[in-house]
């Protein structure tokens, strides 16, 4: 399995443990990620707010580069926001001739949108990958109750993502299940966490984070698992207010890749678990102990 | 090329020797090096006379209509165009799939001008495929000629088609070559009903032309046999293609004979069809 890889800006900075876990897991299960040469930011929320052309062109450039260099490879990204922007450009280039024309003019290169854009969840859900994961999991995170948080942009809008279930997706729950952890049934899997406005409208965006964490805890979760560095950062970094506001304890937030890495034997140091804002290693260690492995993390 | 021809001969010979088919329809040589002729091979020995070269331009499927109730299966070499014709004939209840043995021969493009428009070189239905499918070449602009006529003024268009039909000799070769013309008796041969006269006049010829387009246009597989057969070299595909172009514009992507199940455009309707008659 080989993919052209679009890391996204967060992977280079705040999502340190996510990045290390990605490298670890993909290496173990034999997924080769070919980083797109000279990739640029997808524009996130700001670019399309300023200009439609910019919003479409920024993600299209790395996609076009990928198709040029590695025409046989589909593209994968680990960030929900990047995923949504990349897929939108792909979708528009395929379905709207005027948009394709505009994109190609701005990026000054052809973009045929022949290859698919996938998320890590898509890649890890494939039969082949799932089998590889099963084969590589050496220790189990028994009893770790995790709330899988997909975020809005991994699933919506349906015509861009093609996600079959936008209210209660199960792909990540199944992957988490492979580690021996228990994915809890909860109701805020695809509610917006307000990441887009945590800078420019902080006071009204914070409660979005709190509501998600609260529902996760109300349904018995002791950790939140994400498939996006932006979601992770937002849910984690803004827990100070949560404790103050709700009186509830804070909650570790992992990426699904970190859970996989630990289950495959990665040590805390290997994937920089100490980099989490909310202490993370303890919950994992407890789960490993429960499984009888007793292996230090 | 000769390798493929050999495969075709072997395949036909085996089918005939095994008694699988009564005869095989294919192409044979003529005394002109740049022409072939449809041949009907009914003995294993005869298979040696089959040829396969860029002059195998005749579409063979039409001959199936001459033997709709065969005692044994008919072997037919099928390229994209033959297979689309067969699909259409099955849909129109003219031939039965089980009375055919389709020998798939992916086409490499023939010398005929009409092959420029080919969108499907590989047989869509077959019993055996003699060699690997061919890549479909990018077809020429499907409706280029139609657009050319559309660009004229109404009077110019009338003159254009008038000129075409002035030269028509009403030999009906177009009808006879068309694989989707399958009536037992053509309306034009039935004087008593009075649909149209048999005179050879501009008016009657024009009416024959438009009616023919209407009768086959929504089932046309675009094989171009009508034009190939026309002894006067008239651009009569321009009529059926206009039908197809309009159908494409009214109801989305439309091509005939891709399968044996699809209803033709005039044989069904959609509640949401465009309505310009309010």
């Amino acid at each position: 399995m080989r993919y052209s890889y679009f890391p996204g800006c967060s992977m280079e900075s705040t999502a340190k443990s996510y990045r290390l876990a990605t490298e670890y897991v993909m290496g173990r299960i034999g997924v080769e990620l070919v980083e797109i040469e000279d990739w640029n930011c997808c524009g996130a929320t700001s670019a399309h707010t300023l200009s439609a052309a910019m919003g479409l062109a920024l993600p299209a450039r790395p996609l076009a580069m990928a198709e040029l260099r590695e025409p046989g490879l589909d593209i994968v990204t680990g960030c929900a926001s990047c995923y949504a922007r990349l897929r939108l450009s792909m979708h528009k280039a395929r379905s709207d001739k005027a948009a394709k024309y505009l994109i190609e003019n701005v990026i000054a290169m052809p973009y045929e949108a022949k290859r698919e854009v996938y998320s890590f969840l898509d890649v890890l859900s494939g039969e082949e990958a799932a089998a590889a994961i099963k084969a590589k999991v050496t220790r189990r995170l028994t009893g770790l109750k995790a709330a899988c948080y997909y975020g809005c942009l991994n699933v919506r809008p349906a015509e861009v993502t093609g996600a079959p279930d936008r209210e209660n997706p199960m792909a990540m729950d199944r992957i988490v299940g492979l580690t021996g952890a228990e994915a809890v049934d909860w109701a805020f899997k695809t509610e917006c966490c307000g990441a887009a406005h945590q800078n420019d409208a902080a006071s009204v965006s914070r409660p979005l984070v709190w509501r998600i964490l609260k529902n996760a805890q109300a349904n018995g979760a002791e950790a939140v698992v994400t498939a996006c560095p932006m979601c992770s950062l937002n849910l984690e970094m803004r827990q100070g207010g949560y404790r103050k506001h709700t009186g509830l304890p804070s909650m570790p937030v992992f990426s699904v890749l970190e859970l996989l890495a630990v289950a495959m034997g990665a040590s805390a140091r290997q994937i920089a678990l100490e980099a989490h804002h909310v202490p993370a290693a303890k919950a994992l260690a407890a789960a490993l102990r429960r499984s009888g492995g007793g292996v230090a993390i | 090329m000769s390798d493929r021809q050999e495969k075709m001969r072997q395949s036909a010979e085996k089918l005939l020797r095994d008694g699988e088919v009564g005869y095989v329809i294919g192409w044979g040589a003529t005394r002109f090096c740049d022409r072939t002729t449809p041949v009907f091979i009914d003995s294993p020995e005869g298979a040696a006379s089959l040829v396969w070269n860029e002059h195998a331009v005749n579409s063979l499927a039409k001959y199936l209509l001459d033997d709709k109730y065969p005692d044994k299966k008919i072997g037919l070499f099928a390229r994209g165009c033959e297979s689309r014709a067969v699909n259409r004939m099955i849909k129109d209840n003219q031939v039965k799939r089980e009375s055919l043995y389709l020998i798939g021969v992916p086409c490499d493009g023939k010398s005929s001008d009409r092959c420029r428009l080919c969108r499907e070189r590989n047989p869509l239905v077959y019993d055996v495929l003699l060699w690997e499918p061919e890549a479909n070449a990018a077809p020429a602009d499907r409706f280029e000629r139609v657009r050319g006529v559309e660009a004229m003024s109404p009077d110019e268009r009338y003159r254009y088609w008038g000129g075409v039909y002035d030269r028509c000799i009403r030999c009906y070769a177009c009808r006879n070559a068309c694989p989707v013309c399958s009536c037992r008796e053509c309306y034009v041969d039935m004087g008593r009903t009075g649909f149209q006269g048999k005179q050879h006049s501009r008016s009657d010829n024009q009416i024959f032309g438009v009616t023919r387009a209407f009768h086959v246009g929504d089932r046309c597989i675009e094989c171009g046999e009508c034009e190939r057969a026309c002894p006067m070299g008239l651009p009569i595909m321009g009529q059926t293609q206009k039908m197809l172009k309009e159908i494409n514009e009214l109801s989305g992507e439309y091509e005939c004979g891709l399968d044996a199940d699809s209803d033709s455009f005039l044989g069904r309707f959609d509640l949401d069809d465009k309505d310009e008659f309010m």
Partner: protein, 155 residues
């Protein structure tokens, strides 16, 4: 041109029995007035109208042809006019493609209660054809020029 002066077009209207023919009758009951040019041929359903009737009408000398039926959804036979709609959308385009002026062929939905619409449609079509003048296209045995060939083996 003096050709169109005082010219009265000859129009045939194929009307379905259940809607348009009834609407035309209602126009009569209400003593509405419209030009004399239109002659109605009654058919059970607009779906009965074969495109060849239209070609025949032009050939024999009609200056205009109308096909009228129930509005979609109101067909007495439930689906007939849906086929009419498809058939004559294509027919109209084919006629225009062959050089017939778009003003010469009209398809229209007119219900049994739309007497006024029948009147207005007839008036509108008559007026339009009056301006267009006599139809020469598709006419048989026309004096349009020797090149037309009057029939027989004139090659």
């Amino acid at each position: 041109m003096s050709l169109t002066e005082g010219f009265e077009p000859k129009i045939i209207a194929f009307c379905c029995n259940w809607c348009t023919y009834t609407g035309a009758d209602l126009a009569g009951l209400n003593r509405m007035k419209y030009p004399e040019n239109v002659h109605v041929a009654r058919v059970p359903c607009s779906g009965r109208v074969n495109p060849q009737f239209i070609l025949r009408a032009f050939q024999k000398g009609c200056d205009g042809v109308m096909v009228c039926g129930c509005h979609p959804g109101d067909c007495h036979y439930s689906t007939g006019n849906y086929f009419t709609r498809r058939r004559f959308m294509l027919m109209k385009r084919m006629l225009e493609y062959n050089g017939i002026d778009p003003g010469r062929f009209h398809a229209r939905w007119i219900s049994g209660s739309e007497a006024a619409k029948f009147r207005d449609t007839v008036a509108e079509v008559s007026e339009r054809l009056r301006k267009l003048g006599p139809n020469t296209k598709y006419r048989e045995a026309l004096r349009e020029g020797a090149d037309a060939g009057k029939g027989g083996a004139g090659i």
